[in-house]
């Protein structure tokens, strides 16, 4: 089966290192003389009683350096104190094992492998003890890093057993614990690596220090797709501390790098640089004009994504119809650690240190660029000062590699904040047009949605042949939230109209759901009000329990979505009016989404708006979640809070504009984000579930914008359909 691009993002490695089936663990050849017990690529146990676990995901705040060992320890029956974490490197030992971190998948994708890795080792350690004691393995059990012979009470530590365990047969299907016996999975475990963070000892990409290294910053063409024509390095080289100036042709934009003894001199040298550009064909690109083009494009036919019943006929027959257009601007990721990479290119090898979600790409791109076999390239994955999808791109790796090769020294290439904000891969802007029909009894009968969006350029743009295939966009690429509209409308039509701009685009937190869910959940609110019904009850009528269907390309359980809506409503006292200070308007809004068939989220936002200044405050968000078995509830709550603040930043502040072919916003001065004084109380409630674990890192992002917009409508009677929602727009 051809993997769709959506599945491609979720489950396979970009670099084509092959599919790593989650339960398929490469076995180690058990050497007779081994003193290190390595039953598989993930772990080793040494005679000093240390269990090493190789992290197969990048830590970017999702807490995987806590969750991954939890899942291993559950089956391995070792103790936290004996575990040491090593960061896996792409290639070598991990060839064929996915290291890419994306799609809310860190926990879900490793759950099976970690448990199997732990269970395999546990069974072999028990077999080793049984061999030593000459007893039946069934008379022994493992606990807290020791194997215990039950009848005699004899004990051996894993360290003492490591050498003998290494000689045991690797079981194909070691028994996994039934969920009722879990001691760790499902319990609240705080971040295990917090101490390094609060003391400043944690090392991110920008903290890499290699002997003899230099520091660089790079001036990139300010116009999208423009090219370097010439530069004059003389004044830059005159800045004390500047060592080299070199053109760079790889990466997202061509430009000139200034290399110095420290970052400060590199920045000063860059300011002194004289560079000339050929702006190319995009010099007059303007994002406002592009949004207007997108809005005009809703009249086009587009690619059919959904066609249930006969929506045009139902619309024509409807007693009441309404329609609206929603806008989502370009968004930056702006992780607090800017893009960076440290590279040390030598004649026949290369080492790089990089905060990346895509280490396989970093490896293959570097090897290809240098004409080296992948075995000669080492990719060290550092901690990530935020990822959010931006670090799925490795564009900042070849820049550093090219530069290190050019100067013959190790070098750290640092993006300034302005570089990071103007030269990223952005969340594409988006226009959604929705029309809805109600029958004479105010029942929803028809939904017609047209989505105008951009292809994510990380996938490569569609070929001419792709464009002739009417099924090309179905369950694929961009129209997430369109093919899987979860509501049971008797007549539903959804079309996708791709309109691409020169802006490089890619996944953002929650990939492509935020614009489609903002529009859908806002419009449901509009329909409910038009029908004179409660927005919660209106939704529940369209989500019957037990209704499990393939919807578009996704299996949706409408009962589970109804379940989280009811839970969020109950915990937020949805039925009770929200009141507060008399100089403000108060209101609640509700919204929900299903993230890629797996994760069901509903949110209620409590909002007030100042009667004078029209300032918006989000006081409290109740988030209800059904994502199957929860491995670490403490981690899930943190991710819910994080995702809601992320989505709220885009709801209230975030937008990137392009004028004259370049991004306008450059820093947190003009691309503001939610800060302490604007952050709401978030309460997270989970539905107890027997379903297997599903992803959660991104999945609480999409409902917050419509929940807030709906709450603002409830408070003020004003419907705002263009993000970000600001006091100025509310006043207008």
């Amino acid at each position: 089966m051809k993997a769709t691009r959506r599945k491609f993002l979720k489950t396979t490695a970009l670099a084509g290192t092959g599919l790593a089936i989650w339960l398929e663990i490469p076995k180690n050849a058990a050497g007779e003389t081994a003193t290190v017990f390595e039953p598989n690529a993930y772990i080793s146990i040494t005679p000093d009683n240390v269990v090493r676990l190789w992290m197969t995901r990048s830590e970017m705040g999702q807490g995987i350096r806590t969750t991954l060992p939890m899942m291993l320890l559950e089956e391995l029956e070792a103790s936290w104190s004996q575990v040491r974490l090593e960061q896996a490197m792409p290639g070598g030992r991990f060839k064929g094992i996915r290291l890419r971190t994306s799609g809310s998948g860190s926990t879900v994708e490793t759950y099976g492998a970690m448990r199997k890795a732990g269970a395999t080792a546990r069974e072999m350690l028990i077999a080793a003890a049984a061999e030593k004691w000459k007893v039946a393995p069934a008379s022994c059990h493992a606990r807290e890093g020791t194997v215990i012979h039950d009848p005699s009470g004899r004990k051996l530590t894993y360290g003492e057993l490591a050498t003998v365990a290494a000689r045991q047969n690797v079981p194909d299907k070691p028994p996994l614990k039934p969920a009722k016996d879990f001691r760790l999975i499902g319990t609240r475990v705080k971040r295990r690596d917090g101490a390094a963070i609060v003391t400043g000892a944690a090392r991110y990409g920008l903290d890499v220090r290699v002997p003899g290294m230099l520091y660089a910053v790079m001036e990139r063409c300010p116009v999208l797709g423009g090219k370097l024509t010439r530069f004059d390095a003389e004044k830059a080289l005159a800045v004390p501390g500047v060592r080299h100036v070199a053109p760079i042709h790889s990466g997202i934009a061509t430009g000139v790098a200034v290399v110095a003894d420290h970052t400060w001199a590199a920045i000063k040298g860059r300011e002194a640089l004289h560079v000339e550009w050929d702006p190319g064909p995009n010099a007059d690109f303007d994002s406002d004009r592009f949004l207007a083009q997108m809005e005009s494009a809703v009249t086009q036919t587009g690619f059919p994504i959904r066609n249930d019943g006969d929506a045009p006929k139902a619309m024509a027959a409807a007693a009441k119809t309404l329609e609206a257009t929603y806008e989502f601007p370009f968004q930056a990721h702006a992780p607090l650690e800017t893009m960076n990479c440290t590279a040390d290119v030598r004649p026949d090898s290369c080492e790089i240190w990089v905060p990346t979600q895509a280490p396989e790409v970093a490896l293959s791109d570097t090897a290809k660029m240098l004409g080296l076999p992948e075995d000669s390239v080492k990719v060290h994955i550092t901690l990530l000062g935020g990822g959010f999808g931006r670090r799925l791109f490795a564009d900042y790796v070849p820049e550093a590699v090219e530069l290190s090769r050019a100067i013959g020294k190790p070098v750290q290439l640092v993006w300034t904040r302005s570089d990071d904000m103007r030269h990223g891969f952005f969340h594409p802007s988006d226009i959604e047009h929705i029309a809805g029909g109600l029958d004479a009894g105010n029942n929803p009968v028809a939904w017609v949605q047209k989505s105008v969006g951009s292809d994510l350029s990380m996938f490569g743009l569609p070929s001419e042949q792709d464009k002739t295939d009417p099924k090309f966009y179905f369950n694929d690429g961009s129209p997430w939230g369109l093919f899987d509209i979860p509501y049971n409308f008797p007549h539903l039509k959804a079309d996708y109209i791709p309109l691409n701009s020169p802006v490089p685009t890619g996944p953002w937190r929650a990939v492509m759901y935020p614009p489609t869910v903002f529009a859908r959940e806002s419009f449901l609110d509009e329909m409910a009000h038009a029908a004179g019904q409660d927005p919660l009850e209106f939704r529940l009528k369209l989500l019957q329990p037990g209704d499990v269907h393939m919807v578009g390309g996704a299996m949706i359980d409408r009962g589970r979505l109804a379940g989280v809506l009811r839970l969020a409503a109950e915990k937020s006292n949805w039925k009770q009016p929200l009141t507060g200070a008399k100089d403000r308007w108060w209101g609640r809004g509700i919204a929900c989404n299903v993230y890629d068939s797996d994760t069901y989220v509903a949110q209620v936002a409590e909002v007030s708006v100042g009667r004078e200044a029209h300032d918006i405050r989000v006081h409290r968000v109740v988030c209800a979640v059904d994502c199957g078995l929860v491995v670490n509830p403490a981690g899930l709550e943190g991710q819910a809070e994080s995702a809601i603040i992320w989505g709220l930043s885009a709801t209230l502040h975030g937008r990137i504009d392009f004028k004259n072919g370049g991004a306008v916003q450059e820093n947190f001065t003009d691309f503001d984000v939610v800060r302490m004084h604007e952050s709401p109380q978030v309460e997270t409630y989970t539905v107890s579930s027997d379903h297997p674990p599903a992803g959660f890192g991104e999945t609480a992002v999409p409902p917050i914008a419509p929940a807030v917009a709906n709450a603002i409508f409830a408070a003020t009677g004003k419907r705002l359909r263009r993000l970000p929602i600001t006091a100025e727009k509310l006043k207008a």
């Binding site: 963070i197 400043g200 000892a201 920008l206 004390p240 607090l336 603040i645 004084h677």
Partner: protein, 155 residues
């Protein structure tokens, strides 16, 4: 180049560099104290916050020439064993996610507790809202600051 003498984490240091060089880069690139982070370079994100004679400042905005005879504390020097009440409270409240902003946050919070031993939510808003956390750990930080304040008042 002139030599600048400053006290850093209790020890005298001499730095021979461009007088205009921001303290942030002195710390990170010359003295290898990488706990202080670069986030914006304009003094608007708080990631580079250190204490200057006990006052929280943005080290990306302090030229080396202004550091003479002043005493600076960075996250590495906040406590001898990572046991400042804020650091402990941060762990108790499970605040950090990616963690990149947290050194700056903790330095700001530690200074806040000096001036406001029992801060209100409004005090916390006033003092902490110069800082950016893209992981959105704000409410946990608020709880951690209140927790640290309780510990300080008990001591």
């Amino acid at each position: 180049m002139p030599v600048f003498k400053l006290i850093l984490n209790g020890k005298p240091h001499q730095v021979d560099a461009d007088p205009q060089m921001a303290l942030l880069w002195v710390l990170r690139d010359l003295l290898q104290l990488t706990g202080t982070k670069y986030g914006c370079g304009l003094g608007v994100c708080g990631a580079c916050t250190v204490h200057e004679d006990g006052i929280p400042v943005h080290s990306c905005q302090i030229p080396l020439s202004a550091t003479s005879a002043k005493s600076y504390v960075t996250i590495e020097g906040l406590s001898a064993h990572g046991d400042h009440p804020c650091q402990k409270a941060w762990l108790e409240e499970d605040v950090s996610q990616c963690g990149y902003c947290q050194a700056g946050m903790i330095m700001q919070a530690a200074a806040l507790l000096k001036t406001h031993p029992n801060p209100t939510d409004q005090d916390i808003d006033n003092e902490m809202s110069d800082h950016v956390c893209r992981c959105g750990t704000y409410q946990r930080m608020r709880r951690a600051i209140h927790r640290a304040a309780r510990e300080v008042s008990k001591a």
